[in-house]
Symmetry: C3
Subunit: 202 residues, 3 copies
Amino acid sequence: MVNYIFEIVGTIAFAFSGIKVASQSRYDVFGGFVLAFCVAVGGGTVRDCMLGLPPFWTTSSVYFICTIVAMVIFFALKHGSHLIPNKVNKTIFLTADTIGLALFTIAGTQKAYLNGMPVWVSIGMGCITGVLGGVIRDVFAGLKPTIFSEDFYATASVIGAAVYFAFPYIGFSAEVSSVSGMFTIVILRFLAVRYKWHLPMV
Amino acid sequence: MVNYIFEIVGTIAFAFSGIKVASQSRYDVFGGFVLAFCVAVGGGTVRDCMLGLPPFWTTSSVYFICTIVAMVIFFALKHGSHLIPNKVNKTIFLTADTIGLALFTIAGTQKAYLNGMPVWVSIGMGCITGVLGGVIRDVFAGLKPTIFSEDFYATASVIGAAVYFAFPYIGFSAEVSSVSGMFTIVILRFLAVRYKWHLPMV
Amino acid sequence: MVNYIFEIVGTIAFAFSGIKVASQSRYDVFGGFVLAFCVAVGGGTVRDCMLGLPPFWTTSSVYFICTIVAMVIFFALKHGSHLIPNKVNKTIFLTADTIGLALFTIAGTQKAYLNGMPVWVSIGMGCITGVLGGVIRDVFAGLKPTIFSEDFYATASVIGAAVYFAFPYIGFSAEVSSVSGMFTIVILRFLAVRYKWHLPMV
């Protein structure tokens, strides 16, 4: 149940980030919807193709509805944006996007592992699930993908997935491990943004 | 039979649009061929991967031959371009591209539905089949994809796929519905280009 | 055994080219690693998805380790780059990249053919295996893909794959044909770079 709520929040957040980029790239309303949907389901679709499974979003219309909800929120915020301080706006977006990354990463890791993948492949597929949507968003908008250079994005995703596998070894239950993995991602990203952590450049 | 002719025309049209972009991006002849083939089969390949089927173009060499035909037409037009008024050139291209979009959308919708997908997923996959080739074309050429902001492109595709599903409910046969879906896409696009229809920007 | 060594060299070379582009695009260390891995396995992953097989890199961690080795080499070269003449550096890179292209092309062609694809599809899939990693590299780095316009890249790949199929007809064994295909690619590329061969532009 908690997982389900997180998944909805994550999908809405990812879709929202797609619409935001679409708006900056001067897409029309329908193009914005398509981009938002691609961001929300892109990573998981590639994961499912690699696992030989049907894409997860074909089995439930909840991801479709989440994209519509994200559009409604976007238009509400757009017309009320003068009422909300810019900083609050940014924090809302960062929080939602980070929850999306955290949940999609752990859900993707779990799904790959349950489908027989070894641990390191599962971590990689979790990372793909979490970050590929953002890459697709930037490429489709004609931008250079930011997640490879941005504050700890993919790095936090991989560390969180590793925590998810490490915690059962030190005696934690599957539920605790999965929540710990998500929290690790959320906390790492907030710390990275707050204290301007950067990995050294290659 | 009519479907088959449409499919060939659509494939040639899509391949042709790929070569045109390749020419503008100063690709060499072989690069142009590869790009043209990617545009022609890209959308359907992603659809087939999601459906768990082998890519449609692996079962028949007609798509390969269509790409060669498109290249021959391109070179003929290029060397004879001073003979054809620019406006006629544009109209030929728009017509072919629109027929391609119409046919690929309905064929994709049909294939997804026959493989057990629910209606809304089938419409989505029809849209992917029709428009993703153009997205791949623009991304591979280092351009910002235009289909999300261009005159009614993806929108017409989705409305046509919806017509294809709606018409049997009001008593039309499968054949009539499928042709009606295609006509809807063609007419919508021509009207949109003629009267400069635009969706509001996001 | 020789195949296996070639495969490792090819993977390292492709991963290395990914890190080089990541460095030019100012990625962080982890982003560079991800890009390198995508370049090394991208083409083969798409091929395996189209063949309905699990991605090859999920069955062995050797590709993962090769990517780490490529990073180590990159940092060693970076800090010692003042010791190596620029021209030697370029030759090393070209050689490794070309061996990667040659091996990945023939391995991809073989795998597609063994999975029941007709000859021309196998050649196409071999080409995809060899060149798509480089396309992903450029798109993810926000650059225009170079392989479509660069000296004989995709062209050499297709000609080599064709040699691989043609040689058994004139009496050569499978091993000789496969090595001949690879040599064809290597020699064509070196000649193209040396004598500045270009296909005419489209």
